[in-house]
């Protein structure tokens, strides 16, 4: 085994990131690049630090996360409801099929102009499109999860006299958890892209601007470093959330042997 492979994973990744940053910094410093086009890592760090200190970046991040979380809560609950309805009735199944066929291929960001007419230039519009982006992956995966629960598990539950709501919460939901987590992960991925895109479009008029607005605003004033700073925050948050999902999976479905460790 090479020296590289023997290093712990964290160290390997950290070294790679450091190398990329070094090359980037060298390119900007030594290449005499126009700073309006590409900011160096040090400039980006400086800009991010300044905006974190005066709370601007922090506020933008907070606004984005609030819109995302609200949208995801609404979308996930509707998704669960649709999937539960689909499990218990034929018409529910058909409704889910029809709705997902219509809406799933539609990038929910395309609904934003309509949402702006309905709800105005308010965070409500963003929450609406995020919810729309998250309903379908949650509903489809949860439905699939319910449907693939082993026959024996269901019989064992019915043997205990479980039915209706208690059957759903006591057995169906935990038994379908691997698929539900997959659905929520997909919903997060869609929702995250949607919220940033929505803020980019929305941005100018937003009083409670998020990260998309922050980036667009920085472009307006040609603050290239701040554009990069916004991008870095988006990327870092993405990594953190992925890590959070990994943690949840290790504590639940992996621990229960329902999913193999990654």
């Amino acid at each position: 085994m090479s020296t590289w492979a023997r290093l712990p994973a964290v160290a390997r990744y950290a070294l790679l990131v450091a190398a990329i940053l070094a090359i980037w910094q060298a390119y900007v410093t030594l290449g005499h690049v126009q700073p309006l086009l590409v900011a160096s890592p040090l400039d980006v760090a400086g800009a991010a630090w300044a905006d974190l200190k005066d709370g601007q970046l922090e506020k933008a991040t907070y606004n984005t996360l609030i819109n995302l979380i609200l949208g995801m809560i609404v979308g996930t609950l509707i998704g669960f409801a649709l999937a539960s309805f689909a499990v218990f009735s034929r018409i529910g199944q058909d409704l889910l099929t029809v709705l997902t066929s219509i809406f799933n291929p539609l990038p929910s960001i395309a609904i934003l102009p309509l949402a702006m007419i309905w709800f105005g230039l308010q965070p409500k519009s963003i929450v609406f499109v995020v919810a729309l982006a998250t309903i379908w992956p949650v509903a489809l995966n949860t439905d699939n999860g319910f449907r693939t629960i082993s026959q024996t598990t269901q019989l064992a539950a019915r043997n205990l006299g479980l039915r209706g709501w208690r059957l759903v919460t006591g057995v169906l939901l935990p038994a379908a958890l691997p698929s539900i987590i997959t659905g929520v992960k997909a919903a997060w991925a869609f929702g995250w892209r949607t919220v940033v895109a929505a803020e980019l479009i929305f941005g100018v008029a937003g009083s409670a601007g998020g990260l998309g607005w922050y980036i667009n605003n920085a472009r307006y004033y040609l603050n290239t470093s701040n554009i990069f700073a916004g991008l870095v925050v988006i990327s870092v948050l993405g990594i953190l959330v992925e890590g959070m999902f990994g943690f949840i999976e290790r504590r639940t479905v992996v621990k229960w042997g329902m999913k193999r460790a990654a």
Binding site: S150, T152, T153, L155, A156, R158, N159, L160, G161, L162, R166, G170, V171, P174, A175, L177, T252, K255, W256, G257, M258
Partner: protein, 260 residues
């Protein structure tokens, strides 16, 4: 306990767009405290019969009474032990599987449920695995846990659907011995479905032999008190059941698993 009169069960067969009769003209009774074994070639409908007693299905014709009442719904008074390991809830530890069953099926208070669960786990000798999750257990241990969960409910009868079918021979024999002991100690009525002749004679007080397509009762054989596998009587019964199962079956595609 169970009285069946001319029971027939049909099921919808999507492949043939029609109804297939799984069981025809089944009349039998299960007596309190006995181990009643249903044996037959695989796919003959013996599991369907057990599911009907459990209340998962209803008889299409005839009458099936459990403790004097038609079994319309499944319930913890007829606790089922299945062959598949995923009858245990994967997200609960072995102890919590038993505790949860007692909580939802019998409304047992938490403390009492825990005490009862521990007693049951001790009965089936898996106390050391109480805090493990099902996927961490061997097949035999999982079946022990399932039996503990079923017995904890204090059912009027224990319905077992090839409970040892997925286990290796050694584990299987060991669990047969223990089930016999448990039966002796608890006196619970057991209805057991199997396709092993040896298991049927060893565990059963009476063995109901079924034919197939559709399943009809061929004979109910008295096999009580056969714990010596080497005895001449055991050999005689083995011959008799094999004769009933195999040689009188006109069909040529008798599965090998039915032959001991």
């Amino acid at each position: 306990m169970v009285v069946a009169e001319d029971v027939a069960v049909d099921y919808l067969n999507p492949a043939h767009h029609g109804r297939t009769t799984a069981i025809e003209d089944a009349s039998f009774d299960v007596r309190r405290g006995e181990t009643f074994v249903i044996i037959g070639p695989s796919g003959c409908g013996k599991t369907t019969l057990l599911k009907t007693i459990a209340g998962f299905m209803r008889p299409t014709r005839g009458k099936l009474l459990v403790e004097g009442h038609p079994a319309r719904e499944p319930g913890p008074d007829r606790a089922v032990v299945f062959q598949d390991f995923d009858q245990l809830f994967a997200w609960r530890t072995v102890r919590d599987n038993v505790v949860y069953a007692l909580r939802v099926a019998r409304n047992t208070p938490v403390r009492a449920a825990r005490e009862k669960a521990d007693a049951m786990l001790a009965l089936v000798d898996i106390t050391r695995a109480a805090d493990k999750y099902p996927h961490e257990l061997s097949g035999g241990m999982k079946q022990r846990a399932a039996i503990a969960r079923a017995l904890a409910l204090e059912p009027t009868m224990l319905l077992m659907d090839e409970p040892f079918g997925a286990l290796d021979m050694i584990t299987r024999n060991q669990l047969q011995i223990e089930l016999k002991n448990i039966h002796r100690r608890t006196g619970v009525t057991i209805v057991l479905v199997t396709h092993s002749i040896q298991e049927a004679i060893y565990l059963g007080d009476r063995v109901m032999v079924m034919s197939r397509h559709p399943a009809r009762i061929r004979e109910i054989v008295d096999t009580h008190d056969q714990s010596d596998v080497e005895s001449p009587r055991f050999a005689e019964l083995t011959g008799k059941l094999r004769e009933l199962l195999v040689h009188r079956d006109q069909e040529l595609d008798v599965p090998e698993e039915a032959v001991l």
